[in-house]
């Protein structure tokens, strides 16, 4: 499979009141087309900072990100914006949809930004939304959609422009358990089907069953990278009780 992303010894340090804080510490991994991985860890572990560096939103203190052969450190702001627009699909925790655009228009937005022909794109957006069960809600405004429906619109938007890489930052943060499972399952299916590379940042270990690999981060460092969901959970439960405390006992009960 084609290599889509290479994170090479990424480090991000901040200086606050004279003290140096290392948010991400020497993280390296690779991601191939058709592969969906989760980056998990407790709050403040550096997951989102890592995601921001991969997306070219934040410049690493050390290391580099290579996306489909392009070294992001060599690109200027304008080129980085173009790269995000053309080759990355995004979903965020909040502020996901433009409130005054309909579901279909929100999805088409990425095509408009990329200057793609809207006639074909319109049909594509309709198909994509229909495949996500939103065929009846094409003309609904975000305020008229449920949380789960909104997240599915976001998924459609992140895939409509055929990106090489799809990045999802806590996509299930505002969803209840059942809905969270449904959304991530759909997301994973589409990523696999369309042979995209996907990274999902989450602190919810229950989602690991839908991904190919899980990278667990604590204090900015990778402490585990595994494709065995059970192994990850057992390890987390034993060695990082703070994580299980944060997530609650039911997580582990459900997973086991």
């Amino acid at each position: 499979m084609t290599l889509v992303l290479k994170a090479d010894e990424l480090r991000k340090q901040y200086t606050v009141d004279g003290d140096t804080i290392t948010a991400v510490d020497n993280i390296s991994f690779e991601l191939k087309a058709g592969e969906f991985i989760a980056i998990v860890g407790p709050s403040g572990s550096g997951k989102t900072t890592l995601l921001a560096m991969i997306a070219g939103l934040l410049t690493p203190t050390n290391g580099r990100v290579i996306l489909a052969g392009d070294d992001l450190s060599l690109l200027n702001d304008k080129q980085l914006a173009a790269l995000r627009r053309q080759r990355i699909g995004f979903t965020f925790q909040a502020n996901n949809l433009v409130p005054f655009l309909t579901a279909q228009q929100n999805v088409e937005l990425m095509l408009r930004l990329n200057g793609r022909p809207l006639k074909d794109g319109r049909l594509r957006a309709q198909e994509l939304l229909s495949s996500l069960g939103l065929g009846e809600r094409l003309n609904s405004l975000p305020s008229q959609l449920s949380a789960g429906q909104k997240q599915r619109v976001v998924i459609a938007r992140s895939l409509i422009h055929d990106p090489d890489l799809v990045l999802a930052d806590e996509p299930t943060a505002s969803l209840d358990t059942n809905l969270a499972y449904q959304v991530v399952e759909t997301f994973a299916e589409l990523i696999h089907e369309q042979k995209r590379a996907g990274i999902m940042v989450t602190h919810d270990l229950r989602m690991c069953r839908f991904v190919d690999r899980v990278i667990q981060i604590v204090d900015g460092q990778i402490i585990q990278s595994t494709d065995d969901c059970n192994e990850l959970e057992a390890l987390a439960n034993l060695e990082y009780p703070d994580i299980s405390t944060e997530l609650g006992e039911e997580v582990w009960t459900n997973s086991n």
Binding site: Q93, V98, L113
Partner: protein, 377 residues
Amino acid sequence: MEMWRNWGRFLLVSLVVALITLLVVFLAGLAEGLSLSNREFLGKLDGELIVFQEQANLSLPSSQLRNDTKRKISRLSSVGEVGAIGFSSVFVTNDRNEWEEGVSLFGVEPGKPGEPIALEGRQLDSDRAKEAIIGRNVALSTGLMVGDTLVIKSTQAGEEELHSLEIVGISDGQQFFFQPSVFVPLQIWDLIRPTPIVDNGLSSITYNIVNVKMVDSSKEEDLAQLIQQEIQDIEVTDRRTAYEAVPGYQDQQRTFNTQQGFTLLIGILVVGGFFQIQTLQKVGQVGMLKALGTPNLVVSLTTTAQIFVTNSLGVLIGALATVLLASALPSSIPIVFVGRQVMIALVALLFVGPLGGLVSLRYLTKVEPLTALGLSS
């Protein structure tokens, strides 16, 4: 699209801009109207230069020129035509004495600079003809027409005298000193103008100013200097300087300009405030759009277009409302909407939105895409 979905919010701001426009254009129209009432006659003189008595400080009523001044000026080279003009303030009525109206009475030489063009009827016939050309404002306010008799009421040596003149023509607006104007031949004016009880010699003054039309109007300054050098006790100036020297004219204009300036400033702050609040509400959304790869240019252009449309709509509504309001006001309120001041006010109003929106525009371009991830650099 945002404006379409949230039309109520944007329309509200447009209406605020419309009210500001109404106030600014109304003030500008009033300033233009009052300014015209004060200077229209001087501004419309066909001769480029006006000669005053030196000690008169460019005041037309105070200026008293000697009989030979005009003759001396007309002998100079580069001088084309010369016309003497006399001025007094009198009351006029019709032949049945049914009403009375104060007017500026001008004595002009038929066929010479100073005589207005009759848009209706004909020009004055001769120096001694008992005829008058009335300004459009006199015709509008009194209903007099060409062929009617105009009666001038003039106090001469303490007695009220009535002088009947035939109206032979109607000119365009020729107001002066906030009064409409009537033009009669200079010699007739000399006979009918008010005179003091005790003749202190002023009654022998036959005119107040001389209007000079040049052969080559590009040499205005040179000729003004030449006239000034050759003839004693006079002051030569152009039309603009002459009407700007009319007592109260500059103060009045400054007052109106200050009012307009403040209103425009309020407009800038209101529009600026609205778009700034709107921007602050959209920081997260803009951050998300930028994270998706939306260029700053697109964000700026979208906002600029919103500001421009909101503001222009407001200016349009305001301008129409002002015209409607003005048409409903009595004709005695001097409002003119075709003047330079109104044009300047409208152009300034079109810049109110963009100026007000500059701060929010700058703020928008500074929003970091990282905010979409809840981070900040």
